[in-house]
């Protein structure tokens, strides 16, 4: 595909980083913009392939459903094995309200 590459500007990188609560140092913005532009450009190349190349798009399948039957999920153990910190059975996360940041 030869069309112009989609432009991810440093401003777009900043906006996305803010939404993702990520800090990107000022001097890395243009490098990130360049890399992201290449990634988005690659996806655009995929979109440009005609659908026939995939043998037409199949009808989207209906999502399967399950009966409303509760069963224990053992999440407590999964959390114990994976959560970095727990207190009184709760997960512990940085305070997001009233923390002033």
């Amino acid at each position: 595909m030869t069309s112009e590459r989609p432009v991810v500007t440093p401003a777009v990188v900043l906006e996305v980083a803010e939404l993702a609560r990520l800090h990107v140092p000022e001097d890395e913005l243009s490098r990130w913009a360049g890399q992201l532009s290449r990634i988005v450009g690659y996806i655009d190349q995929l979109a440009a392939i005609p659908e026939q190349a995939f043998g037409g798009s199949p009808a989207a399948p209906a999502t399967p459903v399950r009966p409303d039957v509760p069963r224990p999920g053992d999440g407590d153990r999964a959390l114990a094995a994976n959560a970095p910190r727990r207190l009184h059975g709760y997960g512990v996360v940085p305070r997001v309200v009233g923390a002033g940041s």
């Binding site: 999502t63 409303d68 039957v69 224990p72 999440g75 407590d76 999964a78 997960g91």
Partner: protein
């Protein structure tokens, strides 16, 4: 169309739209088999799916869809045979996956309406859509524990993945009162249909209000402010009233309204601004790749339709027409499906509709409140509809007076004895002994010579006083007609 005058005398016309989340009454979560629990130990009702562990896949709970369909049908909405789930991406610690599975541009239901009563008559509040989604977990900022540092919050993911419907209303509401009516109707509807328990305090029904004002009823819509965090219908009305007033005063001062989210501060009785940072919404919705389309077939829709009960407004009309009830009484009776069922069982047991309505909306409801039996629990009230009917038949036949009936009802509250047995035991039945009635009349007449003199001098209104005295003397058991007859005779023959 209601206008609100601010102290600075700027007339504003509010425009209000509500977004309501209702927790569906399923036993398990929407995309995994974890039980939907109340008050379970933190994180005990979770699994790798609702905790968002890599490699897990959601599987849709059929019952959640059936309940959502039932509500959409009750609201007269258009159902879409194919709809799609979407990822709503945002970062918050109560959202383990980093996205919420919701519906976005292809919800299962659009349109429909909720009818409310206004002083001008019935008004239909249109719905934009009803869609399915999953709930987030619960953050605890102020904890009861001493060993929790101030810079952390605790999180319980038991609620993550609990099924919800979001009911998005058009901005058709024009006052806080209309908003309260809408919420009341909606809550009644979700309860009637068995879709949600409608408990706002526990958060199973949650309401966000979008409020804007304009300076004429036809002006373009003003900048809207969203109010979150309101947990009762009364507070929704108060928060909206406060917000209308706040916006009116801003306009009167020549200030622009800022589009923002405000929280209802219950203690201060006002809305307060959330930080604008929280407003940087860009949810980057995209179709949920882990789920196929939600495809509804006729059988599924028919199943949901088949479970629809008679809806409250229709039932109100039927009861009012069939039994000649006052609109207010009919409205009270249908306020909860179970209370209306209670009433209809009293009637079915052979009590005339109006008598039954008077007693159910009066004494029975008063005692239910006294005993902390909610209208939704009416059918488990200690005086069953059939026992109340037994009592009311005695009242209707004149076997006991209405006043005695109230005493009998009190005696029935804490016993399983039938009304007739209590009447017999307490000797409350109509006085059949004419000799005893004559004696009571004679005693009253003899003991009150001055009243007799008044009556004789032409003050005939004292007759009512005599009737009252005899009724009191006989414990309300005498037949009023017989009392009048005996009194007339006794007073005529009394001296001087």
């Amino acid at each position: 169309m209601s206008a609100v005058e601010s102290p600075r005398k700027i007339e504003v016309f509010p425009v209000i739209g509500l977004e309501v989340h209702a927790q569906l009454l399923t036993r398990s979560k929407i995309f995994c088999g974890c039980p939907v629990t109340v008050g379970a130990p933190p994180n005990s009702a979770t699994c790798p799916v609702c905790l968002g562990f890599p490699g897990t896949l959601p599987v849709l709970n059929r019952e959640a869809v059936t309940l959502a369909l039932r509500l959409a049908l009750a609201a007269g909405a258009t159902l879409h045979r194919e709809s799609q789930f979407a990822r709503k991406n945002y970062f918050y610690p109560d959202l383990p996956k980093g996205y919420q599975i919701s519906q976005y541009d292809r919800p299962f239901s659009t349109g429909g309406s909720i009818a409310i009563d206004t002083p001008e008559g019935e008004k239909a509040i249109r719905l934009v859509r009803i869609h399915l989604e999953e709930d987030a977990g619960k953050l605890l900022h102020d904890t009861p524990y001493d060993d929790v540092p101030e810079n952390v919050s605790l999180v319980d993911w038991n609620r993550a993945g609990v099924p919800l419907v979001e009911i998005v209303g058009e901005p058709d509401l024009r006052s806080a009162e209309e908003a309260a009516s809408y919420l009341t109707e909606l809550r009644r509807l979700v309860r009637y249909t068995g879709v949600c328990d409608g408990d706002m305090e526990k958060g199973s029904l949650r309401c966000d209000a979008n409020v804007s004002v304009r300076t004429s009823p036809t002006a373009p819509l003003g900048t809207r402010v969203e109010i979150k965090n309101v947990n009762s219908i009364r507070f929704v009305a108060k928060a909206i009233e406060h917000e209308i007033e706040r916006q009116a005063q801003s306009l009167a001062r020549g200030e622009a309204i800022v589009q923002e989210t405000r929280l209802w501060d219950e203690k201060g009785g006002r809305t307060v601004s959330m930080r604008s940072k929280e407003e940087a919404h860009d949810y980057r919705y995209f179709p949920e790749p882990d789920l196929g389309l939600l495809v509804l077939d006729e059988k599924w829709i028919a199943e949901a339709r088949g479970a629809l009960p008679e809806l409250p407004r229709r039932r109100r009309e039927r009861l009012a027409t069939a039994h000649g009830l006052a609109p207010q009484d009919a409205d009270t009776l249908v306020s909860a499906r179970e209370l209306a069922d209670y009433y209809e069982r009293v009637v079915a047991a052979g009590v005339p509709g109006r008598l039954a309505a008077n007693w159910v909306t009066g004494e029975a409801l008063r005692w239910m409140k006294e005993r902390r039996v909610s209208t939704e629990q009416a059918l488990s009230f200690s005086v069953s509809p059939e026992r109340l009917a037994g009592l009311l038949k005695l009242v209707e036949s004149g076997e006991i007076s209405a006043a005695s009936g109230k005493d009998v009802l009190v005696a029935m509250l804490d016993s399983s004895t039938e009304a007739a047995a209590i009447v017999a035991e307490k000797g409350l039945g109509r006085m059949r002994d004419t000799g005893a009635l004559e004696a009571a009349v004679a005693e009253i007449v003899a003991g009150n010579p001055s009243q007799v003199a008044l009556f004789k001098s032409g003050k005939t209104q004292t007759f009512g006083w005599f009737v009252g005295q005899v009724m009191k003397k006989t414990g309300g058991r005498a037949d009023p007609a017989a009392v009048r007859e005996a009194l007339t005779r006794a007073l005529e023959s009394a001296g001087p």
